[in-house]
């Protein structure tokens, strides 16, 4: 076999030999292309599958774990939330607007395929520093808005970080959350021999051919020539597709719905059939509606044209389903049927095109055995050698204006975050919250990952990402339920990268088990480096969903009333390793990330939830990047109320800079009306959690007597530096 041809379909000579062995013959061109995309890292998880088995995926509320279009957990009153996060990193590096837009479009279809109505979008983004990376940043933000705003699903959350390591490899992870009556949850299983396979939505064009393979290679100077591998989005069409699929819920003619994403028709049909033992499918490419002339069967089977869905319909009821799509002016066509021979057979009218066992496509890729080897331990940090804090106020202002801490209002006001009339906690605080109309349930959603921590210690860093996500959920008064993860890593063929992957997955598994949050869906994105250099920080993004039984009891981060007591919950240590303070004030990314005690973490979370439930709290905010003083300033800025505090006298060995800017986990800033203080104190004692009084809400300054006094106006000017 020609090496060049193999490279084109991203198969290795060994993989080719495995194919020949299994088929007992050489594959033809189309079969080779189909196997190439499905055996790509993006589709087959051949480098990560063994590790992913370590993740906890089951729990009491889980109604659908990994393996479907998205995961699902019950939230009560007969409702389930369906959610998943997915990366669109490579396309966004090449074509930021369309890459991000189609990333959003793709994840929405995953949720629709489960029969759920999408209610929220979140985006976890990483870029190189501005202004150098502004073409990535501007394009991606515009693309997310362009798609989400048009389709009418609120974009309610996410995160943005700026670090050198993402300059050539920006990360764009999109998460979608949907709602469905549990008994109406759909599964994409091609059941029932003889049932019809319908292709619905956009006509098929030549766009995006080999997108999945492209996503599984490192970026290099030829990457921009791969622009045709980036698809173009049409959110209007997807809106019609969405509504039509919602209308399908009223009929029992539909057996399964499957999104066409990476690897297009090939993957959609194979996955759908692969979920049913012994099932196969017969597809006639001549029946596929096309956008352009002269397309070969190869093009049709591998096209990644967007806004298409596969629908399996009970035999004889095709007309019923087609009527629903026609009402939305959508094209639908019967392109094949479900078989019981376990083969994916492709014909072009009367001509035979391809015939491959479904299992060979979905599970045949030889798993890659990679070696992990820890790199040189990252540069240590001598905390004692750091110069003492000189001017806390000036440092606070510099930190608030740093790109990783500055207000995101300039970004989220470009996204419609209110459509749907359900956003009861809007972006800008901890988690966002959506109400379930007709009930008192609130769904809290967040994404988190401080990749600097993961870089410095992958196992601990991944745990910290899970813990922070859970804290963001808890800060709204909601209970964490389940996780979706997006594992963004560099080239795993390099032992130190594979080691990071191993460690991070182990850390995720450990923390998810400890905090009782199973991982129900996710995605792996490898090869995030270019030219074998400038690898990204290992970035396991954690998307988390939680629930509150009565959203009228939800909490925001903002201070609400003058005269409230402002408290720090949890204990502080000299946790300056990997901190924003260390980066902004001392120019280092070094040290060990903050130690995490998951037992303590749970105790603190239980305290906050119990206090929220009892109505003792006026607000709660997670202490995260930037530490206590940044969190406190955010509470003040969000509420437009200052705070007056006596001077902080940290008990040795705690340093003053660490008390203000250290990033010890398991901490919250809460505000409590004075009448609830006794109850709050006894509750803290009962949960054995440290509670320290910071000061009183009120006035127009953030003040620690004799240590700093800065007006809210000055703080806001610094914080909103990116709001233009």
């Amino acid at each position: 076999m020609d090496e060049r041809r193999l490279r084109e379909v991203a198969l290795t000579p060994d993989e080719y030999r495995a194919i020949v062995e299994q088929l007992k013959r050489a594959p033809n061109e189309v079969e080779l292309g189909m196997l190439g995309v499905l055996w790509s890292e993006h589709c087959s998880y051949k480098s990560s599958k063994a590790l992913l088995r370590r993740l906890p995926t089951t729990g009491p509320g889980v109604v659908q774990g990994p393996g479907e279009n998205a995961g699902a957990v019950e939230v009560g009153e007969g409702w389930s939330v369906v959610f998943k996060v997915e990366s669109h990193n490579h396309p966004s590096a090449i074509e930021p607007y369309q890459g991000a837009a189609t990333g959003v479009g793709g994840i929405i279809r995953d949720v629709i395929a489960m029969g759920a109505r999408p209610i929220a979008l979140l985006d976890s983004l990483r870029f190189g520093p501005l202004p150098a990376s502004s073409h990535h940043f501007e394009g991606v933000v515009a693309g997310i808005g362009g798609y989400g705003n048009c389709i009418g699903i609120p974009t309610v959350g996410g995160e943005v970080y700026f670090e050198e390591c993402y300059a050539n490899n920006p990360l764009v992870n999109a998460m979608c959350v949907g709602l469905v009556r549990t008994e109406e949850l759909m599964r994409a299983r091609a059941e029932g021999t003889g049932n019809s396979i319908l292709l619905v939505g956009a006509d098929t064009g030549r766009d995006g051919i080999h997108g999945a393979s492209f996503a599984s290679l490192e970026l290099d100077e030829s990457s921009s020539e791969r622009r045709p591998a980036v698809q173009v989005g049409n959110p209007f069409l997807e809106k019609c597709l969405l509504e039509a699929c919602m209308d399908l819920a009223h009929t029992d003619a539909v057996v399964a719905i499957q999104d066409l994403g990476a690897a297009g028709l090939t993957s959609a049909v194979a996955e759908c059939a692969g979920r049913v033992e012994g099932a196969g499918a017969r597809i006639d490419v001549s029946l596929v509606p096309r956008r352009e002339r002269g397309m070969t069967p190869y093009d049709v089977m591998l096209s990644e044209s967007q806004e298409r869905m596969l629908v399996v319909v009970r035999r004889g009821r095709e007309r019923e389903v087609e009527t629903i799509f026609h009402a939305w002016d959508l094209t639908s066509a019967v392109i094949g049927e479900v078989t019981d021979d376990g083969q994916l057979t492709v014909v072009d009218g009367r001509d035979h095109v391809a015939r491959v066992p479904v299992k060979l496509l979905t599970d045949g890729a030889p798993m890659r055995r990679l070696m992990g080897f820890p790199p040189e331990p990252p540069y240590g940090l001598q905390v004692d050698a750091l110069p003492p804090l000189v001017d806390a106020g000036a440092t606070l202002l510099r930190m608030l204006a740093s790109p990783n801490l500055a207000s995101r209002r300039g970004i989220f006001r470009r996204y419609d975050h209110m459509v749907g009339d359900s956003t009861v906690i809007t972006p800008g605080g901890d988690a966002a919250m959506l109400r379930v109309k007709g009930t008192r349930l609130g769904i809290a959603v967040t994404t988190d990952c401080n990749a600097r921590y993961v870089h410095l210690d992958p196992h601990l860093g991944a745990q910290l990402a899970v813990a922070e996500a859970a804290r963001n959920i808890v800060a709204t008064g909601a209970r964490p339920l389940a996780v979706t993860d997006c594992l963004n890593f560099a080239n795993p063929d390099r032992p130190e990268v594979y080691w990071e992957l191993e460690e991070a997955i182990a850390g995720l598994a450990y923390a998810c088990r400890a905090l009782d949050v199973p991982i129900v869906s996710g995605n792996v994105s490898l090869y995030n480096d270019s030219n074998g250099e400038s690898a990204i920080y290992p970035t396991p993004v954690v998307g988390m969903v939680g629930v509150i039984d009565d959203y009228q009891r939800r909490l925001g981060a903002a201070l609400r009333a003058e005269g409230d007591f402002v408290l720090l919950i949890g204990s502080s240590h000299n946790d300056l390793g990997g901190s924003e303070y260390l980066k902004v004030e001392h120019g280092h990314v070094a040290g060990r990330p903050p130690a995490l005690d998951l037992t303590r973490e749970k105790a603190v979370n239980r305290l906050i939830l119990s206090a929220a439930q009892s109505g003792y709290l006026h607000s709660a905010h997670d202490c995260a990047d930037g530490g206590m003083l940044i969190a406190l300033a955010e509470c003040c800025l969000l509420g437009g109320i200052g705070v007056r505090c006596p001077a902080i006298r940290p008990e040795p060995p705690l340093r003053l800079d660490a008390a203000f800017f250290g990033e010890s986990p398991s901490r919250y800033i809460v505000s409590v009306p004075s009448r609830a203080m006794p109850e709050m104190q006894s509750l803290a004692r009962r949960h054995n959690v440290e509670l320290s009084m910071l000061g009183l809400a009120g006035g127009g300054f953030v003040e620690f007597e004799g240590q700093l006094k800065v007006s809210l106006a000055e703080l806001r000017a610094a914080w909103e530096v990116m709001v233009t």
């Binding site: 209007f236 019609c240 470009r414 996204y415 209110m418 459509v419």
Partner: protein, 234 residues
């Protein structure tokens, strides 16, 4: 009172408007499909927000050709209440039921944020429950909401008091800083000369319950629900 909410392909505020009419106000609700050729006996037709037909050519440019729009035009001519919100306002301008046009925001960016609106008319069926020169807090969500009209049209609108809502600050001062999109004269909403067709960019249906951050939008819905019949009778 029967509200009809028009659904074009690409409309997304239909369900939000429907929710307020039906669940918050407890009024009668019917959805009108863009292919419908009758208005099913509605007393007020709402053209909601969204991207009708994708808004690919120009906002509202295709929607005005929808079969339902012919009925809406006749309904307006007969004095029926027509209320365009966001994309609905854009459609009404394209359809010639209101003067002027909505062009790209001066920031060249989509804006989703809270604004303050000065109510300049309270004698209309849409605003009868508002106080004279009341300031309403209401969110916007649009990329093309900058109101534009030629000088003659603009001065006619002002002379006849057709400007109903104007972007202002929290104290009711109409300032450049309180204008979120570059609209001429800070215009957020206008009415036709007869007073039965209102177009506005802000979203009253997004602020009709306290849990969504405010209830000022409900004042407009209540005005229509309670006051509309009087106008129809006269």
């Amino acid at each position: 009172m029967k509200f009809g909410v028009v659904v074009f392909p690409g409309t997304w505020s239909d369900r939000d408007c429907g929710w307020v009419v039906d669940q918050v106000l407890g009024q009668e609700l019917v959805y009108l499909w863009h292919k419908d050729t009758d208005l099913k006996g509605c007393d007020c037709v709402i053209l909601p927000g969204g991207f009708a037909y994708g808004d690919y050519l120009r906002t509202g440019a295709i929607a005005r050709f929808a079969p339902v729009m012919e009925q809406v035009g006749e309904f307006a001519d007969r004095g029926g209440l027509v209320w365009g919100i966001c994309n609905g306002f854009q459609v009404l301008c394209e359809a010639g039921l209101l003067p002027g046009a909505l062009i790209r925001n001066s920031s060249l960016q989509f804006r989703c944020e809270w604004t303050n609106l000065l109510v300049e008319r309270t004698d209309l069926p849409f605003t009868s429950r508002c106080e004279e020169r009341e300031v309403l807090r209401m969110p916007i969500a649009h990329g093309e909401g900058s109101y534009f009209a030629d000088p003659a049209t603009l001065s006619r609108l002002e002379q006849r008091g057709q400007v109903v809502l104007r972007y202002c600050d929290a104290d009711g001062r109409v300032t450049p800083a309180s204008n979120p999109n570059g609209s001429l004269h800070n215009i957020a909403g206008i009415v036709n000369a007869r007073g039965n067709v209102l177009g506005m960019m802000p979203h009253p249906e997004r602020c009709s319950e306290a849990e969504l951050g405010g209830t000022d939008g409900l004042k407009l819905f209540r005005s229509v629900a309670e006051g509309a019949l009087k106008v129809l009778v006269s």
